[in-house]
């Protein structure tokens, strides 16, 4: 087992290096130039010499391979470089936003789990009844409604009926829990609904599969109460794929709330990504993409280990 963990852990690194190479190349193919964006896009006039000087300062005149080597050398020392736009370290730019994004992802996950597991279980047990259909419609709708639109409607609702708006700047949960929750609960709801739809469907189908298994039938024939069967036997086994889905969605939530963060003006990773792309801030884009990939790879690793640990049928070596 230890060997398996070590092996899986070490396997993460070649993947991340490949991601880094891919991102580096992709970013340079993007047309547009950070220097021009920074100095000219405001409508004021600036001479060519100034633009050229700034480009040299950012190291953009160096050959591409040299820029890549610089970046990689920094990475080995866990240094992601400095943002070309703000001049601050990329890790610092990300760290400020990560707190909000992580918290939002946790809250959305919590909402999703609280909704999804009971609903999905209920639908599976009462398969074919109106409850099942209602749950299915609820969850299919959740997948269909754009969460940013749900966000717009939430804001409209709050404005119209309460003449109130969630706070627009982020306060840390530890500093002022009330202000913090008042800001984040709305986007968490908008995102959590969609997320719960995915998880509900997974719970339902996984549970249905388990309920068909022999040992459950045995339990039925032994005359155990339904609640006991579902709680003690079926649900526990069905939860594994559900945990996997929730884990992967969680990883995607950290960087993928691009549009929702715009709607609620959240200072998160997604908004930073939009800004970095529109400014052609190469170093920051690279750092962010790496973070997103890392989140996914890391969650995947955890899920694999969980599977290996919980499910004796999986062999590892």
């Amino acid at each position: 087992m230890t060997r398996y963990i070590a092996k899986r852990f070490l396997l993460m690194f070649p993947t991340l290096v490949a991601v880094a190479v891919l991102i580096f190349v992709l970013v340079r193919v993007v047309p547009g130039d950070i220097v021009e964006l920074r100095l000219v896009s405001g409508g004021m006039f600036v001479t060519k010499e100034v633009v050229e000087k700034e480009r040299i300062r950012l190291g953009l005149n160096k050959p591409i391979w040299q820029q890549f080597v610089d970046w990689m050398v920094g990475m080995v020392r866990l240094d992601l470089g400095t943002s070309m736009w703000t001049g601050a370290p990329v890790s610092q730019e990300i760290a400020i936003r990560l707190q909000l994004s992580l918290q939002l992802a946790f809250m959305a996950t919590l909402i999703a789990v609280v909704l999804a597991v009971p609903l999905g279980a209920l639908a599976a047990i009462r398969r074919g009844t109106w409850i099942d259909y209602a749950v299915q419609v609820f969850s299919v709708a959740g997948l269909a409604v754009p969460s940013f639109w749900l966000g717009i409607l939430l804001i409209l609702f709050l404005l119209t009926y309460f003449q109130w708006l969630p706070p627009l700047t982020f306060t840390s949960l530890w500093k002022d829990p009330r202000a913090n929750l008042l800001q984040l609960i709305w986007p968490a709801l908008a995102v959590g609904y969609r997320y719960s739809a995915v998880a509900t469907r997974m719970t339902r189908s996984a549970l249905l599969e388990v309920l068909r298994e022999d040992y459950i039938r045995t339990a039925w024939s032994k005359g155990l109460a339904e609640r006991v069967i579902v709680r003690r036997h079926a649900l526990r086994n069905a939860l594994l794929p559900v945990v996997a889905v929730i884990g992967l969605e969680f990883a995607f939530l950290i960087g993928g709330l691009v549009v929702t963060e715009q709607v609620f003006n959240l200072n998160g990773i997604g908004k930073l990504f939009v800004e970095a792309i529109s400014r052609r801030d190469y170093t920051l884009i690279q750092g962010l993409m790496l973070l997103v990939a890392f989140a996914y790879v890391a969650v995947n690793l955890v899920i694999d280990l969980l599977y290996a640990w919980l499910d004796p049928r999986i062999t590892y070596g």
């Binding site: 993947t15 490949a18 991601v19 891919l22 992709l26 193919v29 993007v30 047309p31 547009g32 259909y133 299915q136 299919v140 709708a141 997948l143 269909a144 409604v145 754009p146 940013f148 639109w149 717009i152 409607l153 804001i155 409209l156 404005l159 119209t160 997974m202 189908s205 995607f252 960087g255 993928g256 691009v258 549009v259 715009q262 709607v263 990504f273 939009v274 792309i277 993409m289 997103v292 990939a293 996914y296 790879v297 995947n300």
Partner: protein, 291 residues
Amino acid sequence: MAASITITPRAQPRPRWLGWFIRRYPLGAVAGLAILTMGIAAASATWLAPYDPLAIDFLAMFSRPGPGHWLGTDAFGRDVLSRMIFGAQTALLVGFFASLAGATLGGVIGVVSAYFGSTGDLVIQRLADILISFPLIILAMAIVAILGTGTVNLIAAIALSFVPRAEIIVRASALGIRQTPYLEAARALGAGHWRIIFRHMVPNVVAPYLVILTAFLGQAILLEASLSFLGLGVAEPTPAWGLMLSGAAVDFVQRAPWMAIFPGLAISFMVLAFNMLGDALRDALDPKLRT
């Protein structure tokens, strides 16, 4: 010579399809009907729409829904209903071509990669693994940044971000039959690679292919809306639902809520229909598959 081999791995039951499907999956059938209706509406938009979707009418800016404009007008006095009907064209166009291109390209790569195996397969798998580690929207945004905005580039960007997902699913299905005896038999009988791929492997991945295709349709429409909302998709004045939701619709949400409500409903409704049809198709074609 070997052309007479007609073994199929799994005998497909062929009841009278449509009738069976409708009886077995009423929700899917209703969704299919809804999609058909929207498709017809979009195709006949020119006759159906009460106004020219591009016509600016500064005298009718922000009109409430009423007899003149059933769903009201936007910041330019353009008829929201007409723009929504024409917007369905954009949504279906982008959704259909993006998912078709994405699923097909991914499917082809998946089958070929599964069939030939070895190093090429390994490299492709690693690449696909890397690409699926990014959320769809991030991938699509990055590709749009490279290609530029506009309807055609948007289709390409969405299609490309689907490719690794389609590839992985189709490859998994294709792998299952690669080692089966009848394929060995075909190979022993001297059938060429492409012949085997087309005659034997492709028919076996048709079911998962169709399932992911319908699943992608809904996602593509959502992606189109999100990207257009961010100003990275379809350009004004082309009518598109995501675009109708962005900018003025958000800024004026309290003054003219109909601008935000109706296009959002249209998106939700169409994606819902595609998802329900997709679910039904999946259950009918390939119950083991989860997308």
